[in-house]
Structures are given as C-alpha cells and as structure tokens.
C-alpha cells in the first residue's frame, strides 16, 4: 500500500522565505527538520480522528496579502475591564495601533522584531527549548516560518497585577493565507503574572490557516495564570501547541476554551521539571454543526513530588466531533507524583461524536494517579427537577448545558475572563435569546 506523496511538506517549507536576520538559525533548523518530517495522516495514532485534508491541498500556503490594519477592529477583542498591556496581531502582523505597551516595572513585553540585543539573546536562549517537537511536527514548520513573535519576560520576584492580553486576530482576505504565531513567556524565579492568548476573527467567513506555538517557562517559585481563547469564526483553520516547563515549586494554571471549526487542533504539553511544581489544566470545547475540536494534553512528571490536575469538558452538538486525548506520563524517578485527569462530555445529538482517551504511562511505583472519562447526554433527572419548577424543557436544557461549562468558568481566577465568556456561551447554547435570559 503506497500513499500518494504529499506535496505539502516541500511546498510549505518555501513559505515566508524571509530576510536574513538574527532568527535565521532558528528558521534553518526548523526547515531542515520539517523537510524530513512526515505529515500526520489517519494512521498516525495522535491524528487518528483529525484529518488534515483541508490543509494538504496546499491552497492556504500564501502570505496574507493585505496588511492595512488601520480599521478599528477593537470590538472583536476588547474585554471589558482589561486595560493592561496588550499586544495585537492582525493577520499575523503586529499592529502597533491596537497595542498598548505601557509596561509595569520589571516586565518586558515586546515583539521579536522589536527586541533589543539583550532581549534577542534571551529569546534565542529559550526558543524551542520547551517544545515537544517529536509529537508536534507543525512546531518545526512554525520555526521555519518564524519572522516575528511575542516575548514576555517577568523579572525575578515581580508581580504583574494587570492581565496581559495578547490578541491574534484574522480577517477574511481575497486569497487563502497562512499565519504563523509564536509566543515565548519566561517567568523568572518568584515572578507572578496572568496572560490571555486570544485567538479571534472578524465575523465574516475566514480563509486562514494559523500555526501557533506558545512556549512557557515558569522558573522556581514563579506562578503563571494562562488563558487561551479560541473563538474564531468556524472556517478558520488552526493547529496550535502550548508547551510549558515548570521548575521547582512553580505553578501554572492554564485554561483553554475552543469553539469548533473546520480544523481546530490544540496540543498542550507540560513538563514538570522541578520538585514541588504544580500544574492545573482545564478546558472546554464546544463544537457544533459539522465542526471539529481536537485537544491533546500531555502531562509529564519528570521528577518526584509534583502534582497535576486536569479537568476538561465538552459539549458536542449536531453532527460535530470532539477528540480528547489526555496523556499522563510518570518518569521512573518521579516518585510521590500525584496526577488527576477528568474528561466529561455531553452529547446533545444522536449524530454527535466524541473520541476520548485518557492514557497513563506510569514508570514509578509510589504515585497517585486517577483518570476518568465519561460521555453522556443531558441527565433526565436534572431536566425533570427543573421542569417540575415550571421551567420549559428547552430552557432547562440550555440551563444545564450552560451549568456544565459554567462549573469550570467559576473556578477561573479572573472574574473579568469569566464575565467575558459567559455571554458568549449563553449565546451559543440558546438559539433563541429568550432561552438564555436567566444566564447572564
């Protein structure tokens, strides 16, 4: 059985043939690896349920043509009461007009292209160090496409009060195009910050492919709260990765939410590298229509005495599909690890599908691990209780769907993020706004 050789790999390698600059070595390294990579297909275990057919056609392999960002696009990404530092990219290009770069002391937030010499050195020191390339060939492509990115660095023992808002907005253009996004966050020892990565689009039908890689380094005793919002219009294609390393006694709280799309894949790969590190992951996926969302998480306990907790929930509607794969890896040396993973899915239609697989690889003998996945429909008992209080069945269904997700929103540290997301959810669950009247 021979498969037709994909032209995608060599074709993609030619895109963003950039000027020679300080990032050239990274690009070359990435390109070399990408060229010898294989495009995942349905026989690749990690991509079993997610087809790259849309991408493989190759017609997204072009740079964005229009770079005029003078239009006021802020209504697409403004979050009420978030008025701290903000970096905005439009169609993959940094937009100074929409950004706010007044920074608190001890914080560096800049684009790669504007980084000064010292910052460049810091970027080169860390870039690619956290990435789990072996399971993410698209990260090589991201390297090879690298022309810009966001660099966030919080100095030792600095605490940033304001949420840092990074926006990646796409618009529809005349021709299909590709966008490369990269973010590197380094929290030095004892630093504390909160970061929102916000993928969004204009409302019109999108025709972009985004390849995003986020790298997070949380050094000893540092603490990062991270939100990743994927709220693009459904035709936008996205393959993204979050790669994090946690050092001694550090903490990462990361929440991801994704509405569905033609192709939406997110890999979250966390390595606990220092004793006492703790990672909380939670996430929500909400495909409907014929959309797809694919979440893959990997929690790697590499040293003793680390803890991790993952809670993922999805509501899968209509004829849509969700994929969830949660790997917990415990290294032979990682004794006294504690790792929990829960994945619950609500199917609201007979034709909806979810493929969920918790996966444990435990090579140490003194650990506590628990994992579980459920797939169910809206509980008739709960519906009955609400209806017995006079609530119409349709509204009861909306309330319960909302509640299922809202339980995770309630756990988020930042009220502003909760308040931003609730109306978006309410609107999603209730086709008739009347049915959402009690939600927000």
């Amino acid at each position: 059985m021979s498969q037709p050789v994909s032209e995608f790999i060599p074709q993609a390698g030619q895109l963003f043939a950039a000027q020679s600059d300080w990032l050239q070595p990274v690009r070359e390294r990435g390109l070399a690896q990408w060229r010898v990579s294989k495009l995942p297909n349905r026989k690749t275990e990690n991509w079993k349920y997610t087809s790259l057919r849309m991408l493989e056609r190759g017609d997204y392999l072009a740079e964005a043509a229009v770079n005029d960002v003078s239009a006021d696009l802020s209504s697409q990404f403004e979050i009420t009461e978030i008025d701290g530092p903000r970096v905005v990219f439009v169609d993959g290009v940094f937009s100074l007009e929409h950004s706010r770069l007044d920074l608190p002391k001890g914080v560096c937030l800049t684009t790669f292209s504007q980084a000064d010499k010292a910052q460049r050195e810091q970027i080169l020191e860390h870039l690619g160090q956290t990435v789990a390339y072996e399971s993410s060939p698209f990260a090589y492509l991201n390297d090879s496409w690298l022309t810009d990115g966001v660099f966030l660095c919080v100095a030792a023992n600095q605490r940033v009060e304001n949420l840092i808002h990074v926006v990646y907005l796409t618009r529809s253009q005349e021709r299909n195009f590709s966008v490369n996004q990269r973010l590197l966050a380094v929290l030095e020892s004892g630093a504390e910050a909160s970061l929102i990565e916000h993928f969004c689009s204009t409302d019109s039908q999108q025709n972009s492919f985004t390849n995003s890689v986020t790298e997070i380094v949380v050094k000893a005793n540092a603490r990062l709260t991270h939100y990743r919002l994927h709220l693009e219009q459904e035709q936008a294609l996205h393959i993204g990765g979050i790669h994090a390393q946690l050092q001694r006694d550090s903490q990462l709280n990361s929440f991801q939410i994704a509405t569905g799309g033609v192709l939406k894949r997110l890999d979250i790969d966390v390595s606990l590298l220092g004793e006492g590190a703790h990672c909380e992951l939670s996430g929500v996926y909400l495909p409907r229509g014929k959309q797809l969302v694919d979440f893959h998480t990997s929690m790697r306990h590499m040293v003793p005495n680390c803890t991790s907790n993952e809670i993922y929930r999805g509501i899968v509607a209509d004829q849509s599909r969700a994929v969830f794969n949660g790997l917990i890896y415990i290294h032979p040396h990682a004794q006294k690890s504690s790792a929990q993973l829960s994945n619950k899915n609500l199917l609201t239609s007979d034709q909806a599908e979810v493929d969920t697989k918790p996966e444990l690889q435990i090579y140490a003998n003194d650990v506590q691990c628990a994992h579980g996945a459920t797939v169910s429909q809206i509980d008739e008992q709960l519906l009955y209780y609400l209806c017995s209080r006079g609530i119409e069945r349709k509204e009861a269904e909306v309330l319960l769907s909302f509640g299922f997700i809202n339980e995770l929103l309630n756990r988020l540290t930042d009220q502003t993020v909760q308040e931003y997301l609730r109306p978006i959810l309410a609107k999603m669950f209730a086709k008739d706004p009347e049915l959402a009247r009690h939600l927000v």
Binding site: E380, S388, R389, G403
Partner: protein, 255 residues
C-alpha cells in the same frame, strides 16, 4: 383541588399504584403515611409527571383540569409543587438563576408579568433568611454541597417563592433535626390558607405534631387502606402498619 380516582401506575412495567383514590379540597392538609415501598413517593412523581412513571388507568384532576395530559412544567404553572425527597444538585447553575427562572416561568405560565430582577433578588434574600438559609447559598450552585437539611430548606424556599396551590411534600421531614423541622413546619404553617392545599408524605408522626393535618391516610401496597383524622397517626405510631395490611382490602406483602 385534587381528585385522584382509581389510579393505577407502573414503573418499568411494575405496578406500584394499584387503584389509589384521594380527594383533596382547597385549604386541606392531608398526610399520607405508610410502610417503605408502599408507593408514597411514586404518587408524588406520578402527579408531577416524571418520565418512566406510567399511568395505566384512572384519572387525576387538578382544579378541573386533566393533570395527566399536561407536561411537568405545565403542572407547575397550574400550581402543583413537589418538594423532592432527594433534592438534586445542579452545579454550575446558581440557585438565584434557577429560582428566577422558575418564578418567571410560572408567572409567564399564569399570564402574569415577570418580576424585575432587583425586587426578586430582594424577596429571595428575605425568604432565604426566613427559612434560616444563609443568603450566600443563593449564589452557589443549586443544592451544590448543601447538607441534607439545607437542601430541604432550599425546597421550602422554592415553595414559598413559587406560591403553589397544591404542595406535595415528599418526606420533607426525613433527616432533619428538631430545629430544622421547626423551621420547615413554620414555613408550611405560614403558607396554609383557604385556597392552598398540602399533601404531606411522611414516615413519622413527628412532623404532624408541628403541622396538624385535617386527614391522615395510610398508603399500603399501592392504595389507600385506611383514612382518618390525626388520631390515626398516633395509632400508627403505637401499633405500626402491620395490623392494617392484614385487614380487608389489603393484599400486599409487608416489607
């Protein structure tokens, strides 16, 4: 108010109610007692229209309407309220949202205007205090992490806000300490009126010391086997149910 005639009902094909007849007039308080497995809770759920509880024959009228034709929520709009024996937890939906949704739906069902949010919240907080439930519980998920007694008080809170015409209290007294029982009884007594009726399902005479019933019925093996006034409850307390079951008209097994 409520007129049940020769009601037969099954759960999963198993007959639980076997010819139950009961007449409740406006303003009356009826107590239904009986051994485990007699069908007491089934009666409550059949009246509320729970799925899987199938009426095989017989009629149920409430306020002149055929109750069995109505959806669960329509029964609530008509004025029926069932206080659950095991109130259900709904994390993620706040108690306040839930209460507002209920009250709005019921008012809408009755063709009344919706209450504005501010006065509703004020009222909900007042009632919450009256039933000795910390108003902070209004912000929490419905019954989420509530103790048994808190759940029962939350049911009472709902009853007071929804102002039903007929309230069925399914073992509202079970698992309560004396203080909590007093709170529930006070709530019910304050709600008593010439236009409102109660059916209290209970195992114990204790509740009836606090809420005095007009009638006491014994439900055994799917039908009412004896009716009387409140003195019947005292007799049951003293003698148990067994003497009734072997009597005429009772052919069921004791459990």
């Amino acid at each position: 108010m409520l007129s049940i005639n020769d009601l037969h009902a099954t759960i999963n094909g198993k007959e639980i109610l076997k010819g139950l007849t009961l007449e409740v007039k406006p303003g009356e308080v009826h107590a239904i007692m009986g051994p485990n497995g007699a069908g007491k809770s089934t009666l409550g759920h059949v009246l509320a229209g729970r799925e899987g509880y199938d009426v095989v024959s017989g009629t149920v009228e409430m306020l002149g309407k055929n109750l069995l034709e109505l959806e669960t929520e329509e029964r609530a709009h008509l004025g029926l309220f069932l206080s659950f024996q095991y109130p259900i937890e709904i994390p993620g939906v706040s108690n306040m949202e839930f209460l507002k949704a209920s009250v709005d739906s019921i008012r809408q069902g009755r063709g009344e205007e919706a209450m504005d949010s501010v006065s509703f919240m004020k009222k909900a907080r007042e009632v919450s205090k009256a039933v000795n439930l910390d108003p902070n519980f209004l912000k929490r998920g419905v019954n989420e992490g509530f103790s048994g007694g808190e759940k029962k008080r939350n049911e009472l809170l709902q009853m007071i806000l929804l102002e039903p015409k007929l309230a069925i209290l399914d073992e509202t007294d079970s698992g309560l300490d004396i203080d909590a029982l007093q709170v529930i009884a006070d709530g019910v007594n304050q709600m008593r009126s010439a236009e409102r009726s109660f059916v209290m399902i209970t195992h114990y005479q204790r509740l009836l010391d606090y809420v005095e019933p007009d009638f006491v019925h014994v439900l055994a093996d799917g039908r009412i086997v004896k009716s009387g006034d409140k003195s019947l409850a005292l007799e049951l307390e003293a003698r148990g149910y067994h003497w009734l079951k072997s009597g005429p008209g009772a052919d069921g097994q004791a459990d």
